[in-house]
């Protein structure tokens, strides 16, 4: 369990957000916000200052922000934020781009019972002082 980590979920699918919320809450995180566009994510990030963000890499560009631009904006605003990218299995290239930009890890879609376990372990390592 990682208690006290505030998280922001960024995904244009309410269905996907619900699953991510379920797992983050199960880990002990507090989901403080959800964004359905990359631009909304950047705005909410500034307001909520979460320590953890999950970001879907395939979102339409709206108001000049796509996922990568939003990722960079959030990282620039708070370099220590833990960013997790969400991507579909065969998209290693896109995933690698985000990993090189400083993502902590990735969650693979479609979600199944194994999708979140590697992330839980990483979060426990990063937020070890908060892990119970």
């Amino acid at each position: 369990m990682i208690v006290g980590v505030n998280a922001l979920i960024v995904d244009d699918s309410p269905f996907a957000r619900r699953i991510i919320r379920h797992h983050l809450t199960k880990f002990g995180c507090k989901v403080v916000g959800e964004a359905e566009t990359a631009a909304q994510a950047v705005r909410l990030f500034g307001e909520l200052r979460p320590e953890l963000v999950t970001l879907d890499v395939m979102m339409p560009e709206i108001e000049g922000f796509d996922s990568l631009r939003a990722f960079r904006a959030m990282k620039q605003e708070s370099p220590e934020v833990a960013m997790l990218v969400v991507s579909v299995v065969p998209f290693e290239k896109i995933r690698d781009t985000f990993m090189k930009e400083g993502a902590l890890g990735y969650i693979v879609k479609p979600f199944n019972q194994f999708s979140f376990e590697p992330i839980r372990q990483k979060l426990v390592r990063v937020f070890h002082e908060l892990a119970a």
């Binding site: 996907a16 699953i19 395939m58 579909v88 479609p110 199944n112």
Partner: protein, 126 residues
């Protein structure tokens, strides 16, 4: 096409949905599964409709994103045939291939959606 639906129990529940996937979700959290089914009804038909108009308008980048999301949303609830159809549309739209191929594909996706919604309706009633 449906690789995971290979047990007798799975086949007995529904040929449209992979029962193993649904059982895993139910085991994880029954309430979560119920909510996901409701979200599926709210989101997926709208996204299929939007995908159809994106294909008609040859808006390939938007079509790729919607097909991509449909691919994973449907697979998450075990609708593997529908997921494969969405993946096919995503690939074709990515290559900006002939609209006629995609029109046929979206018709197949719509037909499969009707089957999936009917199967989920049964799950809802449980």
């Amino acid at each position: 096409m449906n690789q995971r639906n290979d047990s007798p129990n799975a086949a007995a529940i529904s040929p449209v949905l992979d029962a193993t996937v649904l059982a895993e979700l139910r085991e994880e959290d029954d309430e979560l599964l119920r909510e996901l089914i409701e979200l599926f009804f709210a989101e997926v038909p709208m996204r299929v409709q939007r995908l159809r108009s994106e294909i008609t308008q040859r808006n390939w980048s938007a079509a790729v994103i919607d097909a991509h999301t449909l691919k994973s949303t449907t697979a998450t609830l075990g609708a593997m045939d529908m997921s494969a159809l969405a993946a096919e549309i995503e690939r074709t739209a990515r290559d900006q291939a002939a609209g006629e191929v995609l029109t046929t594909a979206i018709d197949r996706l719509d037909a499969e959606l009707a089957r999936v919604l009917a199967a989920l309706e049964q799950e809802r009633a449980k």
